[in-house]
């Protein structure tokens, strides 16, 4: 019965989930891959890909890859596509950091702040990264980390967010290792 309910739920939410093997190389789009850490599951939800240890909402690593000029980073239920901020190929890392902040704001996140902006390797490509502080729509304080690379006018972005208490501290070392494992073709 529970299984049937879960299947119905997954079907209704256009959601699919599978546990990942530690060390499993996961291709996450646009030729970007990363190595899974122990305890992570991969979830496809509404066309987006997430890796999580405890469930999206508690800790989630979102993959926004292959973003082209004029496209938003992601779609958000209840927000018309035209209302989402869009990526522009001419954007600098400073502008992309602003874009991430504005996009998370559309996702009902509050008080989103980003920094420090710094260069970070993105596999063999040059990238940049920054930290996030924010609160969800219920006021829960959260922290996050983002890493991105724009190559040939196409943006790849990984954003990790988790409640500041417990989950961020618990999961972020594994996320840092995932970031360090990124490979680009």
């Amino acid at each position: 019965m529970k299984r049937a309910a879960l299947l119905l739920c997954l079907g209704l939410m256009a959601c699919a989930m599978h546990s990942m093997e530690a060390g499993e190389d996961g291709t996450v789009g646009n030729g970007v891959s990363a190595r899974a850490e122990p305890g992570f599951a991969q979830i496809h939800l509404a066309g987006m890909r997430y890796w999580t240890q405890h469930g999206t909402g508690l800790d989630e690593l979102a993959f926004y890859t292959g973003i082209k000029d004029g496209q938003p980073l992601f779609r958000t239920p209840g927000v018309r596509i035209g209302e989402m901020p869009v990526y522009r190929a001419r954007m600098t890392p400073n502008d992309i950091q602003d874009l991430v902040v504005a996009s998370l704001g559309k996702k009902k996140m509050q008080n989103v702040r980003a920094g420090p902006l710094r260069p970070c390797p993105f596999g063999s490509a040059q990238g940049f990264c920054f930290d996030l502080t924010l609160a969800n729509d219920e006021g829960l304080e959260m922290r996050g980390r983002a890493i991105a690379s724009a190559r040939g006018g196409v943006l790849d972005l990984l954003v990790f967010t988790a409640p500041a208490q417990f989950y961020f501290t618990q999961v972020s070392p594994a996320v840092d290792r995932i970031f360090a494992s990124i490979q680009v073709k």
Binding site: T92, N94, D98, K108, Q110, N111, P119, E138, G139, E141
Partner: protein, 346 residues
């Protein structure tokens, strides 16, 4: 005859439990609970006290609660239970205290005339269940009203008719003038209001003309001197950054703000042009960044803006020079490592 639920500055009668007013009161009380606990509120006592002090000059204020909401854009909302929400983007846009007073007075007039209650009745009478479901779906009546977006949706659900707007214009003008605020600030405020706000407050030449006529009928007297809002200065950089991140064309907004001559506002106009990136915008951006640097309060961010602009345009020497200046003027900037990287690559 329906019970009068909402009387500004006066004790309210408890609505009948099965009345329309009770339904509205319950929704709004729940919304205010959410707002009171929202992470989006600015808790700075100085800023809150300042806005409340203006409200108290305008009307009896013991029963009114003021909430300053950290969010870009021009928005003020008086809930029908006496909660007044003021967006920080509103404070950024006000040239002086008189403009803010007129804007607050306009919203307080809606509250005093119980326009939201009228709107609630119209929803019940004309659209019934469909409208209520629409309100619910927008986050009003169910769920949290804790984010600026959900608060704005709450306000939009109580949008006012043209006749109510005109009534609020007149009452608000009289209220602000009685408190000593120059009536001329009212039409100036509406002329400067941005498109988002005017969607909810349709202005139009006819309404502005009517307001102007009311201004001319006001008795001559000496009005309060009205300086720029002093308590907003520490927030200027943050609020300008929030406006620039909105992904809307902010050139008109910053063109208005840059008239003040403040370095950060001129920088904002430069960034608005740089981010928009239309033909000719690069030259305008550069000129406004330079104008910002010529201001007495020259912001280091203008150097960064010049550097990013030059880097985008492939002008490496200019980018190097500007970023080097930025590093000198803002040695602790939190993007310093990125600037160093840009410099190494140029």
């Amino acid at each position: 005859m329906l019970t009068l639920l909402l009387m500004a500055g006066a004790a309210r009668a408890q609505p009948q439990a099965d009345s329309d007013e009770a339904g509205l009161a319950m929704q709004v009380a729940k919304a205010e609970d959410d707002i009171r606990n929202s992470a989006a509120l600015v808790r700075d006592p100085a800023l809150n006290d300042y806005v409340k002090s203006i409200v108290c000059r305008l009307t009896l204020c013991a029963a009114l609660r003021v909430y300053v909401v950290e969010a870009p854009g021009l928005n003020v909302l008086a809930l029908p239970n006496g909660a007044l929400l003021v967006w920080t983007g509103t404070l950024l846009r006000m040239d002086n205290e008189a403009e803010l007073a007129h804007l607050l007075a306009h919203e307080l007039a809606h509250y005093q005339h119980k326009h939201s209650l009228d709107q609630y009745h119209r929803m019940l009478d004309t659209s019934g269940v469909v409208a209520l479901l629409g309100v619910a779906a927008s986050g009003v009546g169910i769920g949290f009203v804790s984010t600026p977006a959900s608060m704005a949706a709450l306000g939009a659900s109580y949008s006012h008719s043209q006749s109510q707007e005109r009534e609020a214009d007149k009452t608000g003008l009289e209220m602000a003038a009685a408190a000593g605020y120059d009536p001329a600030a009212a039409p100036a405020l509406w002329r400067a209001a941005d498109a988002d706000f005017l969607k909810r407050h349709p202005s139009g030449e006819e309404r502005l003309a009517a307001l102007q006529e009311l201004v001319q009928q006001m008795p001559a007297r000496t009005w309060n001197s009205s300086a720029a809002l002093p308590v907003t200065a520490p927030y200027l950089e943050r609020w300008i950054g929030e406006e620039l991140r909105r992904d809307t064309d902010t050139v008109a907004l910053f063109t208005h703000l840059a008239v003040s001559g403040r370095g950060l506002c001129r920088y904002g106009l430069g960034e608005a042009y740089r981010k928009r990136g239309l033909a000719g915008d690069a030259a305008l951006a550069a000129s406004w960044f330079r104008a910002a640097l010529a201001a007495p309060d020259a912001p280091p961010l203008a150097w960064r803006g010049l550097g990013l602009l030059a880097m985008q345009n492939g002008d490496k020497p200019a980018a190097r020079a500007a970023f080097a200046q930025y590093r000198v003027m803002a040695p602790d900037a939190d993007d310093r490592a990125m600037i160093d990287y840009y410099l190494a690559q140029l």
